[in-house]
């Protein structure tokens, strides 16, 4: 019996002329949770389908449980031992069947005897806390519940290997965390091997080992820590005033420079913290004009995303955009771009938005966060004049939304998750179409079209069909189309779903430029918590209400003050450590691969006492340290607290 459950070598897959996977190699050991991390179209799905025996491929060898999978017949031999969850939230389930009927169908399809089916179903539904909804049709489940039901259906025949294709895409952070906890427990209990893909780089630390995918190739493999160690360097977080002057100079010297609200985030490759501080200081001293003041310096280990971007850069990927430095600077508007005053929208007896108030000044990037169904889309629809509010008022770009709905539509730009491009039209045709819709005359249309092509880096692609562009370019084209009439306010609904890290960075650079240099106010909704950190200001929605309204930094500080700081413990038996910490009274404990995350009210004391406490439970702490809180931590804590409060009988 070979030790590896999956062995892949030279795996190559073509769809027509497009090369989806180019010579991939992979080894997954028994009992491992192995992650495939990468953007849409990186080749993850093709590889997973081939391993599950549901897709043929063009070249390479693929062995599962030591059996070579190269034909429909050989694939059949391993299928009973595999559970496969295809991509798309709940899409492989049957919407008209209830939870019970879905599980029963999967059980019978997989030949589970009726005598065992009932018991297994009860256990799995209990663990996923779905047992209270057994009669509910699948179409009425929330995203998180669909995801858990998908997992139950995949596990019902007790496979030895599960292949889960992007199980967490499109699910809010709370449900995502819940999912990882349940998955970790199930896999540990049954000794199941798992191959899981994700488009979220910040989820990589949930896995024992990962492969980083980019455009059909593997960029790196190993434990998350090994990968981070592969590109030495320092991640620096600091403020520099004035930021707009400092940014271009820093970017020229350190390509991996990002603006996060008032903060700057720089990955200095190859430098230790001291060297990084010196190099950055020297660089800022070279800013022309008035002196730049650097403050609030933090230096730490880079995150996987920084490392991934660095790896891609080493292979020739470029982060720079072709935005003119200050040529188009306008006199900054000082007024409010968006003002919502007690906006309420009632559907029947359901309050989709309940007295929502917030303000967005010109030149600010404002993030609207919340789980699916929290009311984000309802608010955006009201502000863009698509939906009439039941009560409340708002001003957008200087127009009253109650009386001037059409004026609002002319003054704003809107870009949806689906990118709303015409795939069969060329790049230029798409831009011209939007210019026509907004009534630009010929000369302006040509001017703006040139601007969009320059801004989005589409030079050379002008006559390509929009549908054939890579995701990142397509996204920037959609942004350009939303900006063709030079709106003062821009609405972005989940704008970066499925785009690779380079594309995401360039996109945020452009947004930052628009807000700072051109004074455009930008309202963004996003599921990526790492992106929420780019915003100047955030509003967190829950059950139709705004429950928090502050800068990302303020929200994190508030969490640290009220609940505690984040400790990361590297341990040899994570599941036992988790249980021991729960019994020791820690309420916020989460499993991340082989590490455990704990929120601690007294970090210093806990760091000292925890190794002893855990060794009492037979767990050895290999390493322990503080980790910076992320927006995801904030989101999860806030929402869980609100959910608990809502569940408690009043």
């Amino acid at each position: 019996m070979p030790a590896s459950v999956i062995h892949v070598d030279g795996f190559t897959k073509r769809y027509g002329r497009r090369l989806a996977a180019d010579g991939l190699a992979l080894d997954v050991q028994r009992g491992e949770i192995y992650g495939l991390v990468g953007a849409d179209g990186a080749g993850k799905s093709s590889l997973m389908k081939a391993i599950a025996g549901v897709l043929s491929f063009d070249a390479g060898t693929l062995e599962v449980f030591g059996i070579r999978v190269d034909s429909e017949r050989s694939a059949e031999q391993v299928k009973q031992r595999i559970g496969f969850l295809p991509q798309g939230l709940g899409l492989n389930l049957y919407p008209d069947l209830s939870i019970d009927e879905n599980v029963d169908f999967f059980g019978r399809l997989r030949g589970v005897p009726d005598t065992e089916l009932a018991g297994r179903k009860r256990l799995l539904l209990e663990m996923t806390r779905l047992d209270a909804f057994r009669q509910r049709p699948m179409r009425q489940l929330s995203g998180g519940m669909k995801q858990k039901l998908g997992l139950v259906c995949t596990l019902i025949h007790e496979p030895e290997l599960v292949i889960l294709d992007e199980p967490t895409t499109g699910v809010d952070p709370v449900s995502r965390r819940d999912f990882w906890a349940i998955l970790g427990r199930l896999l540990e209990e049954k000794g199941i091997t798992a191959l899981v893909s994700t488009a979220y780089l910040d989820e990589a630390d949930r896995f024992h080992r990962v492969s980083l995918f980019h455009e059909g190739r593997v960029m790196g493999q190993g434990t998350p820590a090994e990968l981070v160690a592969r590109v030495p360097g320092t991640l620096a977080l600091f403020r520099a005033e004035p930021q707009a002057e400092a940014l271009p100079v820093l970017k020229a010297a350190f390509p991996q420079t990002e603006a996060m609200g008032a903060w700057l985030r720089v990955f200095a490759d190859g430098l230790d913290p001291v060297q990084a501080r010196q190099a950055l200081g020297a660089c800022l001293a070279g800013v022309p004009g008035k002196a730049v003041r650097l403050s609030d310096w933090f230096a730490r280990e880079p995150e996987l995303e920084d490392v991934f971007v660095a790896m891609l850069r080493q292979r020739g990927a470029r982060l720079d955009t072709t935005l003119e430095a200050a040529a188009t600077t306008r006199p900054p508007d000082t007024g409010l771009a968006i003002e919502a005053r007690a906006l309420t929208r009632v559907f029947g007896d359901f309050r989709a938005a309940d007295a929502v108030s917030f303000q967005v000044p010109q030149g600010e990037i404002f993030g609207l966060l919340g789980a699916n169904g929290a009311g984000k889309t309802t608010v955006i629809k009201m502000l863009t004049g698509i939906l009439k509010p039941s009560s409340g008022e708002g001003r957008v770009a200087g127009a009253e939304m109650r009386s001037a709905g059409s004026a609002i539509k002319e003054r704003i730009g809107y870009m949806s998750q689906a990118f709303s491009l015409y795939h069969d039209l060329s790049v230029v045709e798409n831009i011209r179409l939007y210019a026509g819709i907004y009534g630009l005359d010929d000369r302006r249309a040509r001017q703006r079209s040139d601007w969009v092509i320059g801004m989005a880096g589409l030079a050379g692609y002008e006559n390509d069909a929009a549908g054939r562009l890579p995701m990142g370019l397509r996204q920037r084209l959609a942004l350009g189309c939303a900006l063709v009439h030079e709106p003062r306010v821009l609405f972005l609904d989940e704008p970066t779903s499925g785009v690779d890290p380079i594309g995401r960075r360039v996109f945020w650079d452009i947004l930052f430029h628009l807000s700072r240099r051109e004074g455009v106010a930008i309202l963004v909704t996003t599921h990526y918590m790492s992106e929420a950190e780019h915003c100047d200001h955030l509003a967190l929605m829950f059950a139709g209400r705004v429950v928090a309204d502050a800068s990302p930094e303020a929200m994190k500080q508030q969490l640290a003050a009220s609940i505690g700081q984040l400790l990361e413990l590297q341990v040899d038996h994570p599941a036992q450590a988790l249980a021991a910490l729960h019994t020791a009274g820690f309420a916020h404990v989460a499993l991340h691969g082989r590490a455990v995350h704990v929120l601690s009210p007294d970090a210093g004391a806990d760091l000292r006492r925890l190794p002893a406490l855990l060794s009492g439970a037979g767990v050895t702490v290999l390493a322990a340290g503080l980790r910076p809180l992320s927006m995801e931590d904030v989101f999860v804590q806030r929402i869980t607290a609100l959910e608990d409060a809502a569940r408690r009988p009043s």
Binding site: G53, E76, K79, G88
Partner: protein, 384 residues
């Protein structure tokens, strides 16, 4: 073949069809609706054709002549008009389809034994109807002429009118309509509608039902399990075949009761042939579903592949012998024609195995061929 898996697949499919509003309508409402709409709407009989008369003569003979048309059940008299200009508007506005213009001195000419012309203006926009109504006009006109000849003969020769009639028309037609004694088109149409609707509904339902799984991704549940292609096709398609058989039986009931078509054949033979036909048309849906990837494509292909043969090459509108040679080859290559022979035979001619065995064999071959093709095209490890 694992019975548990087949039952699980069929049971799941059945519940989805019952609970999904669109599928429920497609499965249980659309066939009946089509039967009612076609049955009442697609009558080929030309009756109650609206017409007007311009009578410049205003004599007893001209009124008598016009009355022959007015009293016919094929024409619906709309009134007298003063002159031709007045009827122009009526024809253009579709208020009348035919106008009789009786010239001055009609009575006088006839009395003198001269030929008297009568002008007929007919709406030619719908050639079928025009031909048929022209036939009625000619028949009524020749009846009038014969009558006048017989009257003249009887006056001149002094023989009884009945004898005179025999003399002017020495050869008389004795027509007996077989199978459809009152020549009502609905008698032949209603059975053919069963053929038509059973050619449209099962392929549509099946193709969309299978492709829906491809489009949503739930087909991966099948691909990634150890279900064999045979088990899948059997379990997946059994509900569609069952529903279509039930529909066919219900349509038979509508044809015989609501539309009053006679059923003279062997019910068992008819039931057997119908099941075979439904399996055959379900197989068309299966093959379509293997070749397309989206529900929209499935709908478009299913409509083209089913409507055209069912309407044009089945004998429902045009009799098969009148098709061009190429069309005739096509008609023989497609299943609807064979089932048309079976329904017409069973409803109107009371024939069974001895006359229709070849049709049954062809349908069986089709069913086997289509399912075989579907089975071969189905792969659990596709290339994309």
């Amino acid at each position: 073949m694992n019975r548990q898996r087949i039952v699980a697949l069929a049971w799941k499919e059945w519940r989805e069809i019952i609970r999904d509003r669109l599928f429920f309508a497609l499965a249980f409402v659309v066939p009946t609706m089509l039967m009612l709409l076609f049955g009442y709407g697609l009558t080929l009989d030309v009756e109650n054709l609206p017409f007007a008369v311009v009578d410049y003569d205003r004599s007893a003979a001209s009124r008598d002549y016009a009355y022959r048309f007015i009293s016919s059940r094929y024409f619906a008299f709309q009134g007298y008009a003063d002159d031709e200009r007045a009827v122009d508007g009526l024809l253009a506005g579709n208020q009348v389809r035919m106008v009789l213009v009786i010239p001055p001195r009609f009575d006088e000419r006839l009395t003198r034994g001269e030929a008297a012309p009568v002008q007929v203006l007919i709406d030619g926009t719908f050639p079928e109807r025009t031909q048929t109504s022209m036939g009625y006009v000619a028949a009524i006109n020749s009846a009038v002429s014969l009558d006048r000849m017989a009257q003249a003969l009887s006056r001149v020769r002094g023989i009884p009118l009945a004898e005179a009639r025999g003399r002017v028309q020495p050869v008389r037609l004795e027509v007996r309509y077989l199978y459809n004694q009152s020549v009502q088109s609905i008698w032949s149409l209603a059975p053919k509608l069963i053929m038509l609707i059973m050619m449209l509904s099962p392929p549509f339902l099946t193709a969309v039902g299978v492709v829906r799984e491809k489009e949503s991704g739930s087909i991966f549940n099948i691909y990634s399990s150890t279900v064999s292609p045979g088990e899948f096709l059997l379990g997946k398609l059994a509900p569609y075949v069952a529903i279509s058989i039930a529909n066919a039986m219900f349509l038979w009931l509508l044809a015989t009761t609501l539309f009053g078509a006679p059923f003279k054949g062997d019910p068992l033979f008819f039931a057997f042939a119908t099941v075979l036909y439904v399996i055959c048309t379900t197989g068309i849906g299966l093959v379509i579903s293997m070749l397309v990837q989206t529900q929209v494509a499935a709908m478009i292909v299913a409509s083209i592949v089913s409507i055209i043969p069912a309407v044009l090459y089945s004998g429902v509108l045009l009799p098969l012998p009148s098709l061009s040679p190429a069309a005739s080859v096509l008609a023989h290559a497609l299943p609807p024609m064979y089932y048309t022979n079976i329904v017409v035979g069973c409803f109107l001619k009371a024939v069974s195995w001895h006359a229709l065995w070849l049709e049954v064999v062809v349908l069986a071959a089709y069913a086997v061929g289509l399912f075989g093709l579907g089975y071969l095209l189905f792969t659990k490890r596709p290339a994309s």
